[in-house]
């Protein structure tokens, strides 16, 4: 006697299966692993201490230019982040997010002194990749096979002085890869918990922190370069807050074959007079 078909007895109804799959997919929506990889420029070492008053007495205008890929709302958010980091370093910062083609030109109120530095930020999407077949595979395997979406962006930074002369410009490139799926999320979580040390963990929060640190660090460094370049080209005009406490690398022993010993460093003091690193 033939055995009853076990398959026909245990197969769930198709509608329930689809519903279960939908529930699984929705439940896994946080199951996205975001990886950030710094490319050109973003990997460069940052020398300025982001907690020190590097821009004390400086008036800085930050303009974030929207584009097709980065709308005004997102650029406004970027501008606020940049403002916060520069204010933390002692600068007086004003931000603008021009809207429309005409407002790309800098508009200044009459009688208002130009800023010391003008930072312009604009973004470009260099590349995007999204393999459609992976979505099909992911659906077929209930997200055991992950989907992979990646894109490469460039953040262009131009810094000018108050008269509009270009002091510094650079393009900072980075890459974001997003994996979505139960399999990759579970594997990554296990690796984070059991294998990777703290600095090597890969998750959304870590990627955000690294990206912020890299981007804002590079912008601060470029702004500082612009500041010193402006001072050099203008013949070191006196500034509102004395630079006497800034470390000088000028020649203690100039024009000799041996390189001079640096002057004894004096750590910059905060407004409360306490020393900071």
């Amino acid at each position: 006697m033939a055995e009853p078909s076990r398959r026909s007895m245990s197969r769930p109804p198709p509608r329930a299966l689809l519903a279960a799959a939908a529930v699984v997919v929705v439940a896994l929506l946080p199951g996205c692993v975001t990886v950030y990889e710094p490319l050109l420029g973003l990997q460069r070492p940052v020398v300025v201490n982001l907690n020190a008053p590097n821009f004390e007495g400086q008036r800085i205008l930050v303009r974030c230019l929207p584009s097709d890929h980065l709308p005004a709302q997102d650029m406004e958010y970027l501008c606020r982040r940049v403002r916060n980091i520069l204010q933390k370093q002692g600068a007086e910062v004003e931000i603008t997010v021009p809207r429309g083609a005409r407002s790309r030109a800098v508009e200044r109120e009459e009688g208002v002194a130009p800023p010391d530095l003008m930072i312009e930020l604009s973004g470009r999407l260099l590349h995007e990749d999204n393999v459609p077949i992976l979505w099909a595979l992911s659906y077929a395997t209930l997200t055991l096979v992950p989907t992979i979406t990646e894109f490469t962006f460039a953040q262009d930074v131009s810094i000018r002085d108050g008269e509009g002369s270009l002091l510094v410009s650079d393009s900072l490139q980075g890459r974001i890869i997003q994996y979505f799926g139960a399999g990759v999320w579970a594997t990554n979580t296990v690796l984070d918990l059991a294998v990777r040390k703290e600095s090597e963990k890969i998750n959304d929060e870590a990627s955000r922190q690294e990206f912020s640190r890299d981007l804002l660090g590079q912008i601060s460094q470029l702004a500082f370069h612009a500041r010193t370049r402006a001072r050099v080209l203008r013949g070191f005009p006196p500034e509102a807050k004395a630079d006497a406490k800034i470390e000088s690398t000028g020649p203690a022993v100039p024009i000799v074959p041996a390189v001079p010993a640096p002057a004894a460093p004096a750590a910059p003091k905060a407004a409360d007079g306490k020393l900071r690193d």
Partner: protein, 406 residues
Amino acid sequence: MAVAQMTRAPSSAAAAALAALLASAPALAGADASATDAERLQVETLRAEIASQLQLQAYDLVDELIYGWTQRPPFGEPTPVLLADVSVPVGFGSGLQALLENHFASVILKNARSSIVLAHCPMCTELVVHSGARGTVVARGIDAPETLAAAGGLSGSRHALFLDFEVEGSALVLRARITSLERALPILFARTISTSTSSPALLRSPDRLKSADEARQEYLDALQGRSPLSFPIRLGVRTYAEGSNQVLAPPFPWLSGGVEAALTQARAWTASFLIGANWMPGLGYGLMGQARLNRLITGEVASLTRPDLYAFVGLGVLSINGNAALTFASDIPTLADLQAAALGVDPQTTFGTVQLGLELRAKNRVGVGAYVEWLPTITDAPMIGDYLNLGLIRFQSFGAEVTFCF
């Protein structure tokens, strides 16, 4: 150098992800300072590997410099030159300096056409003190040539060569200059040469230096001159899954040969056609025809320096003669079948196969592969079971093979 090729398609999801990445405070979390012994060992191993690579690249730069001198000598006649200083990259020690000095000396000695005759100057890097009317000056010997000349330290040479190596990101840069040892120390010759980690060391023979362009052209010729056709000889064995009667079929060895063609210059797609045969004493013989389509999955271009992994799909036709054919019969062989065989009437079966597999190929000369096979017409042979049953497709055979290409 890792290269990943992509295609382009715009989307606004990128903007959302990019903005989301700025959604937290820029915590300046310090790196984890502690490192286990295993991690330190790993770092040291990696550092040694990098140092070796850097040493070879530095040798390349020296070879390129001397090759340039053989083509355009800095002096009209053989001229003694002191090797005054070899500076290694910041962060590297005197070990590398000694290696570079020795390599430079060995190559320059074998290339007299460079017009450089190496002279030895042990006092060049020593401190010398000279007291005169204007005061006492303490300097390296090479920076005070008149003092060195007075002390007889120049060995009759009137020129000094300085080699400076520096790591600038992913590039190694050599800056060479020749200075005349007179009071003004004029620089007579200077050249900057750089290389990067993406270009492998040329490892030129010091007796027969050639320019980087010539070496690159040879490399391109080797790349493009690879014949699109090759002739593989393959030795393999097929095993079959245990059937319902719990009798294991014997493994079938196969020897095959044929032709393989690269469908693209990069050898990312190849196709092959082979015919094969086997003979098992007492069990009969077999004939086989097989066609495969291979796709490179470790990159976009077949490598000249490392093994390549191909995935393939293939179709085959096997004809088995003799008692071995009974393995594929739908009934268990009876005494009548064996009697027929004894009378000289050999059983025979022919069937088709579909293969899926992977092959690791080294320099397109030797390959090792494994595959699973579906026998679509063998559905109810009691001696043939399934290794992998996917419902519609049942993989009943597993094969392993070694391939030699000519």
